[in-house]
Amino acid sequence: MLRPLQQEPRGLLKTLRKHSPSVFVVLAILLVWQAAVSIFSIPEYVLPSPITSLGHLFIRQTDAFYNWKVQIGTTVSEVLISFAVTAAAGIILAILIAWSQWLRNLIMPFFIFVNSLPLIAIAPIILLWFGYGLFTNILIAFLVSFFPVIINTTTGLSEVDDDLIDLVRYLKASKWQIFIKIRIPNSLPYIFSGLKIASTMCVVGAIVGEFVASDRGLGYIIINSQFTMDTPPIFAALIVVSLLGVALFAVVSLAERIVMPWHQVETMAV
């Protein structure tokens, strides 16, 4: 009983120590930012101070005007839904593709090709087809984040040690067993690195969809305030968007550590 109790704070301390430089950097940036704005008296429309920006989210008057709850709710649901769809569709389709070598050889080059295209440029066409709204932005986010997941997962399912496959074939393992016991565990690191890319791309897709056309969401606030040169809400929205991206990334990293406790994660993965 004592053991887990001891390990818990040790793990927590380790996490803190690992992330302390980043936390320190964030605090330093906020301090320098606030100091610079106060000392050089930078006009608010050029660079609002962090206090002004953050305050924007919590002051009741501005909240009535910008309706932050609706904006944040819209973007968060777009990001979460598109991420869930991307993860599910990407992983399931990858399993289907990897099941047959023939299918994989046929489709993978096409996916790699599509992934190298600037997919986000398709956003206006999606808008043209589906009109604006939640669904369109989810679709755009899905399109830009789907390919990293399916390519990574398929690669992970296929890049298995040949000797291992030979060995279990020799032991009369079925194709199903090879999948469950070897290919899928082998693909986990690839899946998680795909999901990490997708976590950022979903935010990017949702925001760009809102940039191109929408009537709500944080991207809408950003683009609308740009027209009126109203900078504080832009910063407030950017802070929330960044937190959203970092939080989703952190959740995926946490899930990775829980699912693969044996796997050491490098900190500087793209």
Partner: protein
């Protein structure tokens, strides 16, 4: 004169022979696309046929409506400038990080933090700060394409065999020599794979910058045509944008082969 003409014809023939499967599948795709549109009578504003799409580019009467040259030139220059800036600053920052431990301690957490942000959301801010035009779009493109180059280059500079470093230390190699003779050549494959990732990101950055606010460029044309529900030029712009991305990617691949003739290339990136 004749010799060069012959060699050009020869290399054109060689290109067709080498890539004939791809060319055939491309042609088949275009024919199928045209057939589907004609047979099912799909309306042009939903999906234009390849004929309608390409005629917006090549039929002079229609093409002059869209001022293609201006838009193409704008987007190409944004992409090229941002790529050159990205490549130069990215490699430079990675060299600094590897050269000095103190700088690495300072730069790494900043990079990790910035890398995890959805940087494209910051685009409207640059438009407020720099007005619209080529400059903010280049800055946006650099901002999103910069990190893969830095991270890849730094990884390559550090992924050096320890034994090799021990050996040259033993032989009293200077830090500069270690960089020039070992670390930099070792990092070339990593640098080029970073460059390849950033080619697409430069195109993405330039296009999104143009979406957000601009008066020219293919991103502007895409958004403008969307407002008019005029889809053939949208498809034509998408094709052009993809071709830019792929050509830049191809150019980097050629450069890679020239810079590292010894490298046996494997084509999964």
């Amino acid at each position: 004169m004749r010799a060069s003409a012959v060699s050009i014809t020869k290399s054109i023939i060689r290109f067709f022979v080498k890539h004939y499967t791809k060319l055939i599948s491309l042609a088949a795709f275009l024919v199928l696309w045209q057939l589907v549109i004609t047979v099912f009578g799909i309306k042009e504003f939903i999906i234009p046929s390849p004929l309608a799409t390409f005629s917006t580019l090549f039929v002079p009467d229609i093409a002059q409506r869209y001022n293609w040259l201006l838009h193409i030139r704008t987007t190409i220059s944004e992409v090229l400038i941002s790529f050159v800036v990205t490549a130069a600053t990215g490699v430079f920052v990675a060299l600094l990080m590897t050269w000095s431990r103190a700088l690495r301690r300072v730069i790494t957490p900043v990079l990790t933090l910035l890398n995890s942000l959805p940087k494209i959301a910051f685009a409207p801010l640059f438009l407020i700060w720099f007005g619209y035009g080529v400059v903010p779009n280049v800055i946006i493109a650099v901002l999103i394409a910069f990190f893969p180059v830095v991270i890849n280059t730094a990884t390559g500079l550090n992924a050096v065999e320890e034994d090799l470093l021990d050996l040259v230390h033993y032989l009293h190699a200077s830090k500069l020599q270690v960089f020039l003779k070992i670390r930099i050549p070792n990092s070339l494959p990593y640098i080029f794979s970073g460059f390849k990732i950033s080619t697409t990101l430069c195109v993405v950055g330039a296009i999104v910058g143009e979406f957000v606010a601009s008066a020219r460029g293919l991103g502007y044309l895409l958004k403008d045509a969307q407002a008019m529900i005029d889809s053939p030029p949208m498809f034509a712009s998408l094709i052009l944008v993809s071709v830019f991305g792929l050509s830049l990617f191809g150019a980097i691949s050629i450069l890679e082969r020239v810079a590292m003739p010894w490298q046996v290339r494997d084509e999964v990136s």
